[in-house]
Amino acid sequence: MTFDASTPFTYAPAPESRAVVDIAPSYGLFIDGEFAPAAGGKVFKTVSPATEEVLSEVAQAETADVDRAVAAARKAFVTWSALPGAERAKYLFRIARIIQERSRELAVLETLDNGKPIRESRDADLPQVAAHFFYYAGWADKLEHAGYGPNPRPLGVAGQVIPWNFPLLMLAWKVAPALATGNTVVLKPAETTPLSALFFADICRQAGLPKGIVNILTGDGSTGAALVAHPDVNKVAFTGSTEVGKAIARTVAGTDKKVTLELGGKAANIVFDDAPLDQAVEGVVNGIFFNQGHVCCAGSRLLLQESVADEFLTALKRRMRTLRVGDPLDKNTDIGAINSAEQLARITALADAGEAEGAERWSPECALPESGYWFAPTLFTGVTQAHRIAREEIFGPVLSVLTFRTPEEAVAKANNTPYGLSAGIWTEKGSRMLWMANKLRAGVVWSNTFNKFDPTSPFGGYKESGHGREGGRHGLAAYLTPSTPKGEHHG
C-alpha cells in the first residue's frame, strides 16, 4: 500500500454482509396469523433503491383484504383486551428481545429495502425499535397509574399507516403502544419499504403472539385509504405527508374515530454567534443529512446569526466535503440512496426551483453511483423566506440557509411556517436557550443537539405537523379512552 500526500485518507470498501438476511422471492399479506395472497391476486415489486435490484414481490391488498384483516383484528380484540396487562407486557418484552437478537439481520434488511446507511440502521433504527417495545411493554400493567383515570380502556382496532423513511422504527412507534394498551392492529407499511414489517410478522409468530392481534397489509395509497375509511376501525394513526394527513382528517370527520397524525416539517436550526461552532456544524450536518434528509423533523432551514454566517458556512462546507455518499451497506457511508425514483424527482424539482428563484446552490464534489437513486448533499445560500426551498418540505439532503440579527428575528423566521414539528438552537447562553425554546412553536426543541429520539420522550408537532404525541406517557393517550368521570363523555 502506498500513501499519497494529496489524498490524505482513502477508504477501502467495508461492506456489511448480506448473508445475514434471507429474503423470500415473494410475500403474502399477514392476516389472522397466516400469510396469504391478496384476494385480487395482485402483486408489486420492492426494489433496493441503491441498485434498483428487485428484492421481492409483495401482495397488493385491496378492500376485501382490508375487510378480512379488520375482522381478524376485531375478533382478536375481545381476548387481547381482556388479557391481564402483565400478560400483554410479557408478549411485548418477548418481541423486544427477539428484535434485539435479530437486529443485525433487520438492519441489513432495512438498509437493502430503504437505502439508508447501515451505520444508521444498525446504530439508530434498530436499537430504538427494541427500546420502544421494551418501554411500552412496561406500561401494559401500569395503565391505571398513567394519568388517564383509574380504569382506562383500549379503543379497539387500530388502523396504522406508516412511512418509508424509518420503516421498522415507525412500526414500533405505532404497534408497541397500541398493543400495550390492549388494542389490536392492522398496519400498512409504505409501498416502497414493505419488507421489515413482513419480517416483524414473523417475529410476532416467534413470540407466540395470538393470531389476529397484529395484521400486516402491504399495498399502496389506496390500501391505506381503505384502511383509514373502514367503518370498524376505531383508531387511525398515520405518519407521512401533511397532504395525506389532511385527507385522513377529512375522511374521519364526523366519525367516532380517534386520530393521531405525525406529518411534515420545515424545522429551523438556529445558530447564534456564541455557539460552539464545531459542535454546531456537526449538529447541522446531522440535522439535515441524517437518513438522506428523509426525516420529518430534519433541520432543513439553517438560520445563522449574521456575525458568524461566513465563518460557519466555511466550516460547514469543509465538513460536507468529507461526507461519503454511496453504497448503504458500506459501514463508512454517511449518505445512502434516495428511497425512490419518485422521491428523487421531487427533491430534484424543488432544488431546481431553488436555483430558478435565485438562491445559490452548492454541493461538494462527489461521485454518485451509476445505478440507483442518488442526490448529492446540497446547500443553498441567499435564500429568502419566500423561496419554495424555505417553505416546502423537501425531504431530502438539501439545506436552505437564511440569516438573522436578533433573537426576536430568529424566532419570527423560525415560526414563519405552517409546520411546527421541531427546531434546533445552538448557543452557550442558558437563559437565551430557554427563552428561545419557550418562543418556538414546535413540538420538539433540540438545543445544542439535534435529531435525538427516545421511547420515553414525547414526539409530535404543532400546527400542520399533526396532532398527538408518540413516545412517553403522552403516547398512551392516543390508544386509550380515559375513565369517564360524571358529566364527561368521550367520543
Binding site: 427500546a131 394519568g147 401533511t242 394527513g245 389532511k246 385527507a247 382528517a249 377529512r250 370527520a253 364526523g254 397524525l261 406529518l263 405552517p418 411546527g420 436557550m433 425554546a437 414546535a442 413540538g443 420538539v444 426543541v445 433540540w446 438545543s447 445544542n448 443537539t449 435525538k452 427516545d454 420515553t456 420522550s457 414525547p458 414526539f459 409530535g460 404543532y462 400546527k463 400542520e464 399533526g466 396532532h467 404525541r469 412517553g472 406517557r473 403522552h474 380515559p482 368521570p485 360524571k486 358529566g487 364527561e488 363523555h489 368521550h490 367520543g491
Partner: protein, 286 residues
C-alpha cells in the same frame, strides 16, 4: 309610586375588548321560552368572525406569555365579577332558558364556581400534563404543555351561561385565546358575560363573543387558516361533520360534540384538549 319606565340594554358583540355592533348592521330578535320579545342581539357576520380571530391572535402572545399565577388570578377575578352580578344573571338565565328563579340562580352559582375551579388549574396543569423524561443518554429532557393558540368555540345551545363558561374557561386558563359563538337562541347571558370579562383585568381579545346564526359563523371559523382549534360543543351532528372536515384544511384540533351534563364535575378532558406538548432536549456535561 308610579311605575318607572326601565332602560333597555342594547346588546352588542365583544371583540378585542370593545363592544361593537355587527359590522353588517344586522340584528335578530331574541325571545324567552314562551316567545315573548326580550331584546335584539347582533346578527354577527363572517366579517365579524374574522375580526374576532384577528383580535384573538393579537392577544395570544401576551396572554400565553403571562404567568400562570397571573392568569389564575384573572379567572378568579371573573368569578368575583360574576358573583357581584348574580341577580342580573339569574334573571337573564331564567328568561333565556325558561327556568324558575331558583334553578336559574343555581346555574349562575355553578358558573361562578366553575370560574373558580378553572382558575386554580392555571398553575397546576403543567404538573399533571408535563413530564421529565428519563432518556437513555446524557440529556436533560422535559415535556411541558403549551396552549394551542386561537380556539374557536361553538358554545352549547341549551346552557346559555354555565355551558358557555364551561367551554371558555378551560380554553383560556392555559393561555389560549377564544372566539366563542353564543347559544343562538339564548345569547343574552353570553353578551352580558362580556361585561364581566371586560372588568376582570382580562386582556383585550383573550375572549371574543359573537351572537348570531351558529351555522353562519361556524363555517368561516372552521375554515379560518389562523384558527388552531375548534370546540364543537354547540354544533349539531350533521354540521359538526362538515365543520370538522373544513377544519382539516389547516389541521385544527377538533373537539367533537358529545352529550354533557354541564352541572356535573367537568373533569380535565376539555382542559387538556387545547394543549400542545413541547419537549426540550439539552445535553448534560461539564
Amino acid at each position: 309610586m308610579a311605575d318607572r319606565l326601565s332602560v333597555f340594554k342594547t346588546y352588542k358583540l365583544y371583540v378585542g375588548g370593545k363592544f361593537p355592533r355587527s359590522e353588517s348592521g344586522r340584528v335578530y330578535e331574541v325571545t324567552d321560552s314562551e316567545g315573548n320579545w326580550l331584546a335584539h342581539a347582533p346578527l354577527a357576520s363572517r366579517k365579524d368572525a374574522r375580526d374576532a380571530v384577528v383580535a384573538a391572535r393579537k392577544a395570544f402572545g401576551g396572554w400565553s406569555g403571562a404567568t400562570a399565577y397571573n392568569r389564575g388570578q384573572i379567572l378568579y377575578r371573573v368569578a368575583e365579577m360574576l358573583q357581584g352580578r348574580r341577580a342580573q344573571f339569574t334573571a337573564e338565565v331564567a328568561a333565556a332558558e325558561g327556568l324558575p328563579e331558583a334553578e336559574a340562580a343555581a346555574q349562575v352559582d355553578a358558573a361562578v364556581d366553575r370560574w373558580v375551579w378553572y382558575a386554580g388549574w392555571s398553575d397546576k396543569v403543567a404538573q399533571i400534563a408535563g413530564s421529565a423524561n428519563p432518556v437513555a443518554g446524557p440529556y436533560f429532557n422535559l415535556s411541558s404543555p403549551e396552549p394551542t393558540g386561537v380556539v374557536a368555540v361553538l358554545a352549547p345551545q341549551e346552557s346559555s351561561l354555565l355551558g358557555l363558561v364551561s367551554v371558555i374557561a378551560p380554553a383560556i386558563v392555559t393561555g389560549n385565546t377564544v372566539v366563542a359563538v353564543a347559544s343562538e337562541r339564548a345569547p343574552l347571558p353570553a353578551l352580558s358575560l362580556a361585561e364581566a370579562l371586560a372588568t376582570s383585568d382580562l386582556p383585550d381579545g383573550v375572549v371574543n363573543l359573537l351572537s348570531g346564526r351558529t351555522a353562519e359563523l361556524g363555517a368561516p371559523l372552521a375554515a379560518h387558516q389562523d384558527v388552531n382549534a375548534l370546540d364543537l360543543a354547540g354544533a349539531d351532528a350533521e354540521s359538526a361533520a362538515e365543520l370538522e372536515a373544513a377544519a382539516a384544511d389547516n389541521l385544527k384540533r377538533v373537539r367533537r360534540p358529545a352529550p354533557v351534563d354541564w352541572s356535573a364535575d367537568p373533569g380535565t378532558g376539555r382542559l387538556l384538549s387545547f394543549l400542545e406538548t413541547k419537549t426540550v432536549w439539552h445535553p448534560m456535561g461539564v
